[in-house]
């Protein structure tokens, strides 16, 4: 169930990350999120509050920097990426007691997601879905041609921050499932594959979600049979699919090319 919800979120959010070409920013948010995890444990806050609070904070700084000082943005993201991660690790070091959960946040534990979290994920999934449906044409315009969207009165700055906020929220949720290290892979690989086959953003979201589901199911099945870490297996399935699709496209274009020369 957690896997299904994760797939839907990844499909939607991942599509926007990929078409807006902000994978690096998403990576920065993901690693900064670890700082939030550390804060949550150190201060004894519930996972969502602690992690989300810090992650949103970091994400909004990153969003602001990419808007105001584009050429400095990569540096800032890199700094928050490393700093957030380091902060998290240090706070976990300082937290009294033995923390089994440390590993599960790095590598994910899809099978150990508590029921209460499932409800939270469902709510989040629905909110993200509703926001995207309501603002669909605005997001589409903003992602395709931000300047033109601005001229038509689309509040591009506000929507950008909203998008980044949704990304932060989604990442915090997904870390539970596939772990921090691999969040980015799940957010970007299915959309990258889907982009080539989709004719509209809606299609891309749908295809990404389905692919994500497939990877999750196959990955879980394989990890069960071979007794491997579930998160990592899922990612390997995704990576394999990526290379296969890349190969297929390459061969297709070679085929077309040689047909063209042949004539």
């Amino acid at each position: 169930m957690a896997g299904l919800l994760t797939s839907v979120i990844c499909g939607i959010i991942g599509t926007f990350v990929v078409v807006n070409r902000i994978a690096f920013l998403a990576g920065g948010i993901a690693h900064a999120a670890y700082g939030g995890i550390g804060i949550a444990f150190f201060f004894g806050l519930p996972y969502i509050v602690g992690t989300l609070g810090f992650t949103l904070f970091a994400a909004l700084i990153m969003a602001a920097v990419t808007l105001k000082a584009r050429d400095r943005a990569d540096t800032f993201i890199g700094v928050l990426w490393a700093g957030g991660m380091a902060l998290g690790i240090l706070l976990l070091d300082l937290t009294p007691g033995y923390n089994v959960d440390l590993m599960s946040y790095l590598f994910g534990s899809i099978l150990a997601v508590p029921k209460s979290d499932l409800w939270q994920m469902l709510v989040m999934c629905l909110s993200v879905g509703l926001i995207v449906i309501f603002f669909y044409n605005d997001f589409l315009a903003m992602s395709y041609d931000e300047e033109f969207a601005q001229l038509r009165g689309v509040p591009v700055k506000g929507l950008y921050f909203l998008l980044i906020g949704m990304i932060a929220l989604s990442i915090v949720m997904i870390i539970r499932v596939v772990g921090l290290i691999l969040v980015i892979a799940l957010l970007t690989i299915p959309p990258y594959i889907a982009e080539k086959y989709a004719r509209s953003l809606r299609m891309m979201i749908l295809i990404s979600t389905l692919l994500c589901c497939m990877f999750t199911i196959v990955g879980l099945w394989l990890s069960y049979i071979f007794n491997l870490t579930s998160g990592s297996t899922i990612i390997m399935v995704a990576v394999a699919a990526f290379f296969i699709s890349f190969l297929v496209q390459y061969l297709q274009s070679r085929c077309l090319y040689s047909k063209a020369i042949g004539n």
Partner: protein, 253 residues
């Protein structure tokens, strides 16, 4: 041709410490067909963006329809250059044109039925209707450019601003685009940024030379000097017939 639609006074604009536009004074009148020429980096695109309200001037004043540009940007149709758009983006031709139907207000994000009809009509006008469901990356540069023009048309603009609309278009395509523009000029003021002086000169009514400053010439004339400014090297004039009108030289350039 009497009412000013864009009025610029004493405009200064710099970017990253560099003075891009200096003391620009310029008026665009209703139903004008203006060509903006000048060397790369001379400030043409910047001036366009200032008119659209995408940039803000350091000093001086711009008024479009008597108001600050940001307030009236939706009354201007904008056709940008093709370069910065992501070609792999999953979007159909019709959806690109529909973007022009976005408007301010609560109902903004949802298209109505007649939005689609308007979009299809605009595609018809640029002769791209049969491509309406094609993926945008299946089109050639010239075809994409026509789709962008259609997108600007559905905004029902009073001014149409085009930034190098013939940059990736072949000669036949160029002629077609300018025929469409000439038709539109019956009702709409048109401003084109272009390097293609020879293609333009039979349709345009006036010329502005932009190179940090702006010099306005009230009639469509092509001179060696203007060609040199556009191509930045002494160019042999090749033309059908002889250019027989001469513009005053710019003072102090």
């Amino acid at each position: 041709m009497d009412k000013p639609v864009i009025d610029i006074k004493n405009l200064w604009f710099s970017f990253d410490g560099e003075q891009v536009l200096q003391d620009v004074n310029f008026t665009l009148y209703h139903k004008e067909f203006l060509a903006m020429i000048g060397p790369n980096g001379g400030g043409k695109t910047t001036l366009l963006k200032l008119m659209l309200g995408l940039f803000e001037a350091d000093r001086g004043e711009i008024r479009v329809f008597g108001r600050p540009p940001k307030q009236v940007a939706h009354r201007i149709g904008y056709v940008p250059q093709d370069i910065h758009i992501n070609k792999n983006f999953p979007i159909s031709v019709l959806d690109v044109v529909l973007m022009g139907r976005l408007r301010s207000g609560i109902s903004r994000s949802h298209y109505k039925k007649d939005d689609r009809i308007t979009a299809q009509a605009a595609l018809g006008k640029v002769e791209m209707e049969q491509f309406k469901n094609r993926h945008i990356d299946e089109l050639s540069g010239g075809q994409r450019q026509r789709v962008f023009i259609a997108r600007a048309l559905v905004t029902e603009p009073e001014i149409l601003i085009l930034d190098e609309p013939t940059a990736s278009v072949d000669a036949k395509g160029q002629a077609e685009i300018y025929t469409i523009l000439k038709d539109l000029n019956e009702k709409v003021t048109i401003l084109v940024v272009s390097h293609d002086l020879l293609a333009l000169s039979s349709y345009i009514k006036s010329v502005a030379c932009v190179n940090r400053r702006v010099h306005f010439h009230g009639a469509a004339e092509v001179t060696e000097e203007m060609l040199e400014m556009a191509y930045q090297c002494p160019v042999e004039l090749i033309a059908h017939g002889l250019p027989h009108r001469v513009l005053r030289a710019h003072n102090g350039d």
